[in-house]
Amino acid sequence: MAYFDHAATTPMRLSAIRAMTVQLARLGNPSSLHASGRRARRTVEESRESLAHALGARPSEIVFTAGGTEADNLAVKGIYWSRVAADPARRRILVSPVEHHAVLDPVLWLESAEGAVVEWLDVDADGRVQPDTLRAAIERDPASVALVTVMWANNEVGTVEPIAELVEIAHEFGIPFHSDAVQAVGQIPVDFSATGLDAMTVTGHKLGGPGNCGALVLGRGITPVPVLHGGGQERDVRSGTLDTAAIAALAVAAEESVREQAQYARRVGALRDELVRRIMAAVPDAQLNGDRRLDPAYRLPGNAHFSFPGCEGDSLLLLLDARGIECSTGSACSAGVAQPSHVLLAMGADSARARGSLRFSLGHTTTEAEVAELGEAILPVVTRARSAGSVAARR
């Protein structure tokens, strides 16, 4: 078996499993005042400190959530609501069209339900927002911008956005900036304070932690309106009993992945480069989507994303799956139906190219043997998928 879907979820690190199972056996709600509660609280706070350290943030800036989607919703909706409450003229949301659905859909919901005005920050052919694009969009009317949200690195094509530059521009105008860094942490250097971000989303299961546990890193001056109301456990911004075991595992996984990041980027980057080389050699007309500079400054080290002309992505996926090679069409699903990727479409690809694409994402367990296995399989699979594609088109 070869697993090339680490961007969907990556195996939990043994250290995280250990931390989690130790806590699962222990009693205590971190909000309780007795000894068991205090012990759980201590675990949560130590985890908070550890996670903050890994992300270049202060402990008080960590708001634990049930994963990336919740953190994105809290950032986008919460900041929008609080900015509009302070000044009703702030209706504009500046957002890149290559965001994950966890950002896109809250933005679109704010547009349809709350009267937000959405402005798309055009991306180039690599899926990157140019700083001038943001500046021009803000300068059209700075006072009307509620927030800017641009992901740190793209989940489909791996393009790294120029976050520090973009944040600097937004801050010239005093506009808060959120970035979904779910795909970036542990892959490339991520430092919350150094970029000056106001809010940043991270999640556990992309870096070897548990699913359903993440955090919104929230600058101390930022007070989003809550999405979830209740006990107010996290700074009165997020309610819900804290999951001590998952939080402990998240912190351990984040600490380890960030500590190993440079070494990881070298090792996995080299495997990725080898995979790209093998695929291009086997299928010379395959198109590498995203930034062709295979350098962590521009592209996530674990990401390879190709379009295979004449193929349907779902055919390729089925054929690879049958050979025990797991990857993704990198696209959104409704009723399990593959839609052409909005990311590729925003990058200027036509629908056929978007439909005929596959994402191979490598991770901390990826081996040379897996890369070789995919390198061997890709030509027969593409050849077979092409015959299926052309047969279907003939009738």
Partner: protein
């Protein structure tokens, strides 16, 4: 003859099981696995915007159906994918459905879907991907002769028999089809689904037209064709009333004609003919609905085309009776003489011809007398 479900001597087949989310296709897939084949399940997404939840028992392309199909595949233990065929379905089935009504004909979209989607678009893709056959939960039987030639036969469950909607399959399509349920009754299939712990065991049957979720065909047509006022006339051309669109009428329809004046003989009147060119609906007495000759076009033969006049039976509706007949293929036409008249046949319906339980083939009715 050999049982087609037994794996061939040269090894097991790679089978693509079309899974609607209903009980029949789930059991069919399970049986294909048990017969030793290498099975992959596929649910066809046929609606561009699937409804969140099923409305009533209808439909075959809601999110709920997709999930039911996935759960059945999990239980059976086969890989499962959803394939988007919404565009092909819209072009080949829905647009055709609307165009046929507009032309004054009454199509059966299920036949069309079998001919153009399940055993064309889906089968072609499956064959291209290296599969040998497409398996469905239709109640019909394939009989294979030692020389490899195949025949399509009715299900042993005549109440559930679906050979009519498969009468459009040609020999090439039949060669790659697998219908594991044709030898059993619906009741047995449901019991088997329960034994297999399939959650869909008690799911109601789908019926009507899957892309018209509320069952309101007239409303669907009105939305796509608009309204166009025209005359309701009798056989002599005398105007008796008005209508809002000829497509809204079906041959043999009696109710809802909105004719003020009673007929001279006092007998009820029925829709005899629909003319989209003149946008008129012709009505008349019930006897005028009786038809004993049919002309079919677009013949599709499930085996060798018949030579000369053949004695057979003819069926003109999915759940209709069969009528003894003599049929002859003449060029691209099929002429059918019925031993006794059938009442209320519309152009666009399919006539399926049988030799005993064997499907000879089908044609689209283009004229009656």
């Amino acid at each position: 003859m050999s049982d087609h479900m037994l794996p061939p001597a040269n090894g097991r087949l790679r089978v693509l099981a079309a899974m609607s989310g209903g009980v029949d296709s789930a059991v069919a897939a399970a049986r294909a696995v048990e017969a030793g084949h290498d099975v992959v399940g596929v649910h066809l997404a046929l609606s561009a915007k699937p409804a969140t939840l099923r409305e009533g028992a209808r439909g075959c392309c809601t999110i709920e159906d997709s999930r039911d199909a996935r759960r059945a595949a999990d239980m059976i233990g086969i890989p499962f994918y959803v394939w988007d065929m919404a565009e092909r379905f819209r072009e080949d089935v829905m647009d055709d459905f609307v165009a046929e009504y507009k032309a004054g004909r009454t199509p059966n979209p299920c036949l069309r879907c079998n001919e153009k989607i399940k055993f064309a678009a889906l089968l072609d893709k499956a064959l291209g991907l290296g599969f040998d056959a497409v398996c469905t939960g239709h109640y019909a039987q394939i009989v294979e002769h030692p020389d490899g030639s195949r025949e399509l036969h009715r299900s042993i469950d005549m109440g559930k028999d679906q050979s009519y909607v498969l009468g459009v399959l040609d020999t090439d399509q039949l060669a790659h089809a697998m219908f594991p349920l044709g030898g059993d009754t619906k009741g047995d299939v449901r019991l088997e689904a329960e034994r297999r712990d399939l959650a869909v065991a008690k799911k109601p049957d789908s019926h009507d037209i899957c892309f018209i979720a509320d069952g309101d065909t007239q409303g669907f047509l009105a939305k796509h064709l608009g309204t166009e006022r025209g005359d309701i006339v009798d056989a002599t051309g005398t105007k008796l009333g008005e209508h809002d669109g000829a497509y809204a009428y079906t041959i043999g329809q009696r109710k809802g004609l909105r004719i003020g004046r009673p007929a001279a003989d006092g007998k009820p009147r029925y829709v005899l003919d629909i003319s989209p060119v003149h946008n008129t609906v012709t009505v008349g007495p019930v006897e005028a609905l009786d038809v004993d000759r049919l002309v079919g076009i677009r013949p599709r033969w499930c085996g060798p085309a018949p030579v000369g006049e053949v004695t057979c039976t003819a069926q003109v509706r999915a759940h209709g009776e069969e009528t003894p007949a003599i049929a002859e293929a003449v060029g691209d036409e099929v002429r059918v003489r019925l031993a006794e008249p059938i009442r209320g046949i519309a152009r666009g319906q399919a006539v399926v011809l049988y030799d005993g339980t064997r499907v000879i083939g089908s044609a689209t009715i283009d004229g009656t007398a």
